[in-house]
Amino acid sequence: MTPTITKIAEDLAAGRCSSRELVDDALARIAAQAPLNAFVTVDPEAARRDADAADRARRAGAGGVLAGVPIAHKDIFCTAGVKTTCGSRMLADFVPPYDATVVGKMKAAGCVMVGKTNMDEFAMGSSNETSYFGPVRNPWDRDRVPGGSSGGSAAAVAARLVPAATGTDTGGSIRQPAALCGITGLKPSYGRVSRYGLIAFASSLDQAGPMAQTAEDCAHLLSAMAGFDERDATSLDVPVPDYAAGLGKDLKGLRIGVVKEHFAEGVEPGVLDALREALREYERLGARLVDVSLPNSAHAVPCYYVLAPAEASSNLARYDGVRYGFRAPDYQDLEDMYKKTRSQGFGPEVKRRIMIGTYALSAGYYDAYYVKALKLRRLIADDFARAFTQCDVLAGPASPSTAFALGAKNTDPVSMYLNDIFTIPVNLAGLPALSLPAGFAGGLPVGLQLIGRYLDEARLLNVAHRFQQATDWHARVPAGL
C-alpha cells in the first residue's frame, strides 16, 4: 500500500527503497486501476528517467523530503512537452511549451511526475462528469462520483495510486473531492500559490493546492508549491513558512467556531453525526467550541454563479481556434470558424457558464447581476472577518452529502451547483480552508472543512494534523485495491 510522503521520505533517506521502485510501483497501480479513469495522461518513460535522476541526486547527497516522491498533476497545470487537456476537447492535443510555476517548483523540489489527472472540463463541475475523457469513479464505490473538479487527483490519492497530487479550487474543487474520496486537501489563501501556467477559469477565485493522505504531507507539499511569483499579478510577496516544522502544537485553548448555518437542514444526517463526533474529538484535544454565524453565506451560491461565469466567459474567449487548441475542420469565414470551433470544442456545462457570464456582463444587466454580486461578495467576506474575532478556525461540512451516484445530478445544473454551498463562500473571501477525513456515513467518507484566517495555513494544517494523530480515518483505504 502506498505510504504517506513522510514515510516515503524516511525510507528513501534510509536507503530502504529507491525512487525508481516507487515510480514503477505507482505506474503498475495506475495501470491496474485504469477503470477508475483517474488519469488522462501517464508518462512512464519520463517518470522512470526522472526517478533515476532523483536516485542519482540522492546518492550524491542532494535532495529534500520530496526528492524522488511520485506525484500527479491535475491536467489543468501546463507541463512542458506533456499534453495538458484541462478535461476538454478544446485542448485534447495541446502540448504546452512551458511549465506552470507550481510544476516547476515541485520539479525543483525533486517530485517525480507520473502523469496528469482527469478533471471536470475547465474545472467546471462538482462530479467529474463534465470531462471530455469520461467520468472518474470513486474508489470507495465505483458507481459513485469522486466529486470535482479535481476528481482524478482525489481518486488517485484515495486509491493509493500516488501519495499526492495537485488540485485547483475555484469554488470547492479541492475540498469537495477530498471529502468525497476520504483524503486531505487544502485550498490555500488567494495569492499564496502562483496561478502562472494554471489554465484560468475564474481568476479572482482560482487557487492551487495539495491533495494527499495527511495534513502533514500537505504541509510538505505546500512549502514546495507556495511563494511569490513575478509572473502572477496577484501573487503575494510574503515569506513561506516551513509548514511541516510548525506541526504538533497543542490545541489547548484553540477556539473552533461552529458555523450555525452549516449544521442545518439540507445536510445529510449521517454527515452531521460524523462531524459532531469529530468536534467532540477536538474538545477532547483541548479545543473550545464557539457558536458563530455567517448570515450572508446562504447567498454565496447565487453570487458565485454570477462572478465565476462572468470571469470564465472572459477567460475562455481566448479559445478561438487561432493560436492553440482545437479548430473546427470546416468553416465558411472567420466568424463561422470561431463559432464552430467553440461549439465543437466546448462541452455543454462550459457553454452554459460562458453564456451565463456573457449575459451577466452584457449591456443593461451588468449592474443588476455583476455589480450586485460583487457587493454580496463583500458582505460574505465581512461575515468571515466578524466570525474570526470570536474564534481561531471555523469548522463545518465540506459537502452536504457523501459521494452521490454517477448520473444522479448531471442533468440538473442547479442541484449540482448547490453541492458547493459550504465551500464557495471561502473562495469568495479568499481564505484558506481544508477538508480532512472525519468519519464515514453509509460506508462513504465524510469530510470536515476547517477554514482559517487569511494566510493562516500553518494553523489549519496543525489543527488537522493533531486530529489525524488522534484518529485513523485518514488511514482507511477502500476495499478491492
Partner: protein
Amino acid sequence: MPHGLTSLNAEDIEKVAHLARLGLSGPERDAYAQDLSRILDLVSQMNAVPTDGVEPMTHPDEAGLRLRDDAVGNEIDRDRLLAVAPKTRDGLYLVPKVIE
C-alpha cells in the same frame, strides 16, 4: 434586478450565444433557454439582500494587483509558440480571409 428578466427564450439565447461566438442548433437553444432561466432564478435570490452603499469586492483585499516593469522578456521563442497553433505559414497565424 427587475422581474421578468429571468425567463429567457430561444431568441435571447441566440443573442447571448452570438456575443460569446457559440453556434447552437435549434434544440440546443431550447435546452439552454430552460437551463439558463433556472440558473438565473437561482441567481435572483441575491435580490433578497440589501446592498446599498456596499463597496463592490472584485478580488480578495489582501491580494494586491501589482504592476510589473515594462521590460522585454522573451522567454519562449516564436517557433515554439507557433508550433501549437492549428494553422501557420511563414511565422504567422493563418485565418480565413477577413478583408476582400
